[in-house]
Symmetry: C2
Subunit: 443 residues, 2 copies
Amino acid sequence: MKQIHIGILGLGTVGTGIARLLAENGELISSRLGAELHLKKAADLDIERDRGIDFAPGVLTTDPYAVVNDPEIDIVLEMIGGMDIARELIMKGIENGKHIVTANKALLATRGNEIVGRAAQKGLSLAFEASVGGCMPIIKTIRESLVGNNIHAVTGILNGTCNYILTRIAGEGISFEAALEMAKAEGYAEANPSLDVDGYDTAHKLAILSAIAFGMKINYEDVYIEGIAALTPMDIEFAAQCGYRIKLLAITKSDGKSVEARVHPAMIPFTDLLSNVSGSMNAVTVTADAVGDMILYGHGAGMMPTASAAIGDVVDIARCIVAGGAMRVPMLGYQMEHIREIPIKPMDEIETHYYFRFSALDKPGVLARIAGILGEHDISIKFVHQTKRRTNGAVPVYMLTHQAREAQVKQALDKIAEFDFIPERPVLIRIEAPEEQKSGQGE
Amino acid sequence: MKQIHIGILGLGTVGTGIARLLAENGELISSRLGAELHLKKAADLDIERDRGIDFAPGVLTTDPYAVVNDPEIDIVLEMIGGMDIARELIMKGIENGKHIVTANKALLATRGNEIVGRAAQKGLSLAFEASVGGCMPIIKTIRESLVGNNIHAVTGILNGTCNYILTRIAGEGISFEAALEMAKAEGYAEANPSLDVDGYDTAHKLAILSAIAFGMKINYEDVYIEGIAALTPMDIEFAAQCGYRIKLLAITKSDGKSVEARVHPAMIPFTDLLSNVSGSMNAVTVTADAVGDMILYGHGAGMMPTASAAIGDVVDIARCIVAGGAMRVPMLGYQMEHIREIPIKPMDEIETHYYFRFSALDKPGVLARIAGILGEHDISIKFVHQTKRRTNGAVPVYMLTHQAREAQVKQALDKIAEFDFIPERPVLIRIEAPEEQKSGQGE
């Protein structure tokens, strides 16, 4: 049986998962692939630790260049993470004619165009299913299954840490800080959680999805990013009373001319399946002209789900090697000459629905003054709720709006914040209502 | 740009959708594929009807053999449906060296092994993503994305007509017959709805999924099939009170030795996302060793979603042609020599949880007699509810059981049915509780 030689860079959680999957399910994979995936080398700084895997003699090495320079190795799996060293090793592998599989979303989001460009020049594959949504085959689905579709939007819960925290706040009415501590205790959050809770990780993934959905260069710089640290149980509870859950969403949409790409907390109606995604699970909705709405749901991270995605990529590449064919699916979904620089719309030009919470001193005429400012900015109110529950002498006023423009909303809130009866900065949460089905209807 | 020549057999709903997608999104598809999909011929008995598509001169023909015998055509899309003629045309196409794309689940379920075998001998592809779950890429996900996984179970809502009917019964408390009439009026059900409501269509799809999930020959003969016609609003309402919805499920599981394959109404807890799939939508959960649970959700039928799936298959094949490589992914997911005859477990050997409803005359000691029989058959009761609501002089007794064996359950119900205080045949609905996660856990 033909052998495909594999090298792994980094035996952390995911790298170890890949080695384990190759060891445990190798025979099964061969019966599907018709070739053997042979782990030739695996590099890590620590090759002494017992990872519960019987590596063959000579496989383990502390020298990553022993992997990327090995003339026999066909496919290199970069599972080190981080930026400079990972990039250098990937580029070296490409120069040496290796196909690359990676889960490194931060690197792809920021240096992906350069790396993909070089791989394409050399006729090599760089595959990255494991970089977005763990085991969910979102990259494959967009690039292959939906190849006949104009994609209108991709909307996802792409960070398990944030979703876990939001689920705990909603379930137990605790603060963000308390939920974050629980997430750390459960192993869902890092000691420095900023990459997750401030939305950067989600934005890395979104930049990749925007590119493959719309045939544009990867553009992380222009993604709007807002994290979940400012969310309060008060807002989450009021959202629930109105039939919404709050999730950290990655949203990218195209109207055929420009693209929206934004990461922020959003209220989603209970009727949308995404609002029912709880704990550390991930899910993503793709809206496209032929299929309407399609949803994928699964473990967005973790050792074995991510390893599974990487092995899927390895087998895709191995099948091309076995068949003697060239790179089959273009890395970013489109032929390189069709990938354009499509501008991402400035956040000010976004139009959506909004939730506001004002802390207002309880005086007559307050609501009229707020409503007046909103009206002047073309913001039409759908729903208002004033309670008598006092916080620091003020009462909360909740509002839901019809569709409004972000720039107008910001200006209006700035003006409202200046009123002396508004002691705190108003809270704004965007509402992501399911769009009317554009197509995909039928029996 | 290289041209790939395509022929369509049958311009019904899906065939027309494919022609429309090629016309409307052809340029987009080319920018992704790097080749042009050229519709060379399309055959239908009626080529006069206006389908809203500008076919080039000479494309339309009433002779299907003009398609399968055209020496230039690379890929034939069989969208006629039905058995004998479809099979004959597919086999003729294969003999002539054409790759085949089909949505014909009935044909695949019953004659798939023969057809796939012949295509494999000739080194050709036969692709059938459109046959199961409409636009949901369940075939691709199992065969490609989950290639590194031992698959434990596939559980799906695969028939939109049934799900629409069950959603209406649950929402409005109407009878099956009334909901079926609504489904007909809305275009969700055929004049003769048996194929859908009696579970055959779901079973066709399940037979295909079992094969690719477990590396077994397609075996439709041994799938257990029970439809939804006997379900009553009474059972659906009681299920809801206990936190369950009733769905027509396709269930296939493997313990590594034997396989379960069954289609029947099942109670699913609200906490399972499948229970929230309403209307004509489809969804399927795959449970596998590395990824844990993964769910796909989307339109399971309809013109454009099904056309989208077929075009995905066409492009997969076209990419292999463009790359000059051979058939890349084996048709049934495994190399032909690894496909085994795995027996499907007889229904009597299944173990699951059960819901029973007994109509009992309201006399003392009734419950003790029923419970006695169940106990004798090793059926342990989890929950009992007796109401005073009389129907034809009898009161309903509801029960939920712990795990029990189907053969014992049937014997027990037969005995209970003999009691003179049980005027009607007891009702049985199986409960599909989410299994404990076997793996796929992690951050």
